[in-house]
Amino acid sequence: MGGGFGVSTTSVLGGVVKRREDPALIRGTGLYVDDLQLPGMLHAAFVRSPYAHASIESIDASEALAMEGVRAVYTAADVEHLGDLVTQVAVGKLRPLLAGNQVNHVGEAVAMVVADSRYGARDGADAVDVDYEPLDPVIDLKEAASDAALVHEDMASNVLLAWEGGPWGDEEGIAGTKETIAAAKEREDTVTVSMEMVNQRLLPMPMEPRAVVADWNQGYGRFTVHSSTQIPHALAGGIAGTFGLSLTDVRCIAPEVGGGFGCKLNVYNDEILVCFASQQLGSPVKFTETRRDAAGSTIHGRGWVATATVTGTRDGKVLGYELDGIADMGAYSQNFTVAIPFLGLFVGAGQYSFPTYWRMACVHTHTMTTDAYRGAGRPEAAYYLERAIDAFAREIGVDPSEVRRKNYIPASEFPGAATHIGFPMDTGDYENNLDALLETVGYENLKAERDQMRADGRLVGLGLATYVEVCGFGPSALVDLGFSWAAYKIPSGFNGSGLVRIQADGTASVIIGTGPSGQGHQTTWAQIVSQQLGIPVENIRVTHGDTAESPLGIGTFGSRSAAVDGSATYEAANKVAAKAAKLAAHLLEASSEDIVFADGGAHVAGSPDQTVSWSDIATLAYQPHRLPEGMEGGLEAHAVFSPGNATWPFGSHLALVEVDGDTGDVKLLRYVAMDDCGNVINPMIVDGQIHGGLAQGIGQAMFEDGDYESDGNLLKWSFVEYPLPTSADLPSFELHRTVTPTDINPLGVKGIGEAGTIGSAQTVVNAVVDALAPLGVTHVDMPLRPKRVWEAIQAAQTNGSVS
């Protein structure tokens, strides 16, 4: 690292700076969308389908319309001219803004009621009488894939996309892989282990459900939309496209966003519909999801059933890995839906060098859409791979850490290593990371302790899993592979931006294009700029999420913000430093090359007493008549950063669990994570991201189950039926890291938002399977709720030992 402009000697980067956003959030003074009260604001509520699949015979809104305070009831006919919901990857059936003749999942919006109050809107929605004719739903993934019954009569198949090998056909990277694996299976000295596993559907359930307020200004012909979204710029573009407006006609603001985890990385029909209602009624219109709306009508994650097969020799060398899967897309495709399995494929072989071959069928079912949920495809990929590797290790009787080590891409292959589909990876040292974990926990002793506890009659298990993930998206050139945001009037791929403006008093405003939802950008971005300019963090304010003031940015998701927009901001700060150095040199009568920024100002290298403050520099910048000849006034810079690659963080996790054999209750005794996200800007924030990430992965392993009933009902409408893990359910995490900086951005940072989730579910399940192995259990599907674990124990005991 190093900016080339006399970087401050006191390192702000890498230091713990307390999250600057917390005081307001903790004191309740932060502004969320639902806090917003605009004069004359109306409220929307939705009439939602109670059926998974039904035709709509009639809708009678007369009673609702007669109610005091109800202003309007809109149905599909009113909004048909706006088209389907804008969608980035438009493959499969797109979502109508409101259901027309048919509903295709429980919770689908059928009508929107707008009223003076939210209570009135709810009363109105309850009074709308919809006559449904129920139809048989398609819910089961294998049934859906078989096309025995169609989800959408006008589609030839429920399989909206099927692929094998790689995203671009059987080409580079995977040529001959299928044959190689088939040959390995034929060999007499190989063992093949195969397991079908469910990676269940999950409901994202951020603490703040989604909320949106649209305000159409008839005079200016302009929308101002506040939304709890991760992608304000895409939302603005989606609204502009839908209503035939230009980007300057739509201002989207994402104020505080109380968690997103990917579910706010979508433009939703309700966001479009409140805009429509505001235009029609001439008043601002608010819609705030209830938890019930959030559970059934905001995107879900995961939802795969797949068979993972490992073939290798008895000494632990893996010769082939295959995954045959069906992924549930739900009834309609939204933003990324069909692209999620591809994200998994990128890390389909993990950090291993063995031949890997995936086959995937993406199917529609009569359920809510699936899309990006923390990790998005990568947790699924890591789960299948690491469960299968563990099963293979158990089968051949080799320690699971040894099997992993034997098959890693060696550190010596970096730079230049590539994934099984030929995608280049940035940096990696997997063995070092695994060793660090094993050494930290005292692996051999820990195994001995486990064995001792077992000998005492306890069901104790150790689980290990390692991962590589891909994030920090990414290169602008992804546009050429078809990954662009053009549907939202954003021509870019995934590049980032940052703007640094020195105010006239010498403080700095940093304006970024991402839309954070709790990741602490106001802190880390200030650290980046402080590091480069020597302006103290307290004098730097970071703002984001307002399309009228931020430079174009894609949003906060895919653990991309620090690597991409952080790097852009770093470059913008360097541009400011270059100009400021000239200004300081002018004031100090020195050469700009000798200027060093530190301690809130600039001085001449070697002469710390010859100094000017940032306020002096700014004053000069805004008094153009005093400037040296040829210099422009003002002091701000904007940079756009397009990295040459995504980033590839990795890590090794270990869990120690105990199972109560009488009840099936699983207790997580220890959880140790050794993550590598490259350079760390703020260790406290990185730890926080891992904490939350682990909780979500462990949540999938132990608690959460968003699967629908076979009749298409979703019985998970609240936290009573859908338990999320809380701090009380989790052990105190033991977090450690190795540091392997990336070489694709100037900060050397990789991204840590999703790593905890990607690494953890399989770690816990491997531990539980290890605990139950003495009883003959080889597999239990998630979530490992007591009932399921107990049933697995019963089944193993009745069947005798399972092969």
């Binding site: 938890r291 207790k667 039926e721 359910d729 009932k787 107990w790």
Partner: protein
């Protein structure tokens, strides 16, 4: 999450409260609101009038009343869980209260509210049954006492009449030892019971002389497991005797399946929890 409209009244005395209840159709008592408000927000239940008993004086204490301990209508779960009198005479109830919900719920919800609500998977009703509590109900017509064994009538249904307020539960000072065990829906002791059992046992001359066992989470309502005690009384309370007795836990109980357990699983758990609760109660009684 937005309830239908309703009226709210906050009487300042018990008499005022009972007279409002007697004269108002569709009125419902509001205590801590931890069960009532969620079902109203889901519009599963929409009373016309809420009678908040929270400002009535004299209902917030746990008192030694000679041969029993009285727990007033406004005593919160957190108080029940930490009170020394309850710990001494009704340990099972203290444990059940300490495992009810989370900190916020325990600071807001009331022990009497939990018992009056009678959720099929609630913790404290089982303890009240096993401890042989007496419920005191007040209405415009006066006050009456109801034995715990007569109190739980059906799913979410108690012997309380619409105009009655449960003003106190009385826990007998009866010696012996008591315990509560459960497997929570979230695992461990967290959340409502997938299955729970409470036991009170007394010993005389090295033999079990009397006791009660109550189950929760498995059937339509908290229920006394009479077969268990029949089997246990007269034995030495050894692990073997307890195990044999626990096998009778489900006599007379209709086990219901829910999201958290099949009939088979819950039946098994009921026996496990009965065994564990009995072992602890016997140990405490010794």
């Amino acid at each position: 999450m937005y309830p239908r409209s309703f009226e709210y009244v906050s009487p300042g005395s018990l008499d005022e409260a009972t007279s409002i209840l007697a004269s108002t159709d569709g009125a419902k008592v509001l205590a801590g609101g931890m069960s009532l408000l969620p079902i109203m927000k889901l519009r599963l239940f929409s009373p016309d009038v809420l009678v908040d008993i929270g400002r009535i004086p004299g209902l917030s204490s746990i008192q030694d009343q000679g041969d029993h301990v009285g727990v007033g209508a406004l005593v919160r779960h957190a108080d029940t869980a930490s009170d020394p009198l309850i710990a001494e005479h009704a340990a099972a109830l203290a444990t059940a209260a300490s495992w009810t919900g989370d900190v916020q719920v325990r600071n807001q919800g009331t022990t009497c509210g939990s018992i009056a609500h009678a959720d099929i998977a609630a913790d404290q009703p089982a303890a009240a049954l096993a401890l042989g509590a007496t419920m005191v109900a007040a209405s415009a017509n006066g006050t009456r006492e109801i034995a715990a064994s007569d109190f739980f009538v059906d799913t979410l249904t108690t012997a309380l009449e619409p105009g009655e307020i449960l003003t106190e539960i009385r826990l007998p000072k009866q010696g012996g030892g008591s315990a509560y065990e459960k497997l929570g829906r979230r695992g461990g002791h967290t959340d409502y019971a997938v299955a729970g059992a409470s036991a009170w046992v007394d010993l005389a001359d090295g033999a079990v002389c009397c006791g009660r066992v109550a189950l929760t989470g498995v059937g339509p309502m908290p229920t006394l497991a009479e077969g268990v005690m029949e089997s246990l009384i007269g034995t030495d309370g050894s692990d073997a005797a307890v195990a044999a007795a626990s096998d009778r836990a489900l006599e007379g109980v209709t086990v219901l399946e829910d999201l958290f357990g099949t009939v088979e699983y819950k039946s098994h758990l009921a026996k496990v929890m009965t065994r564990r609760a009995l072992q602890q109660a016997i140990a405490a009684a010794m």
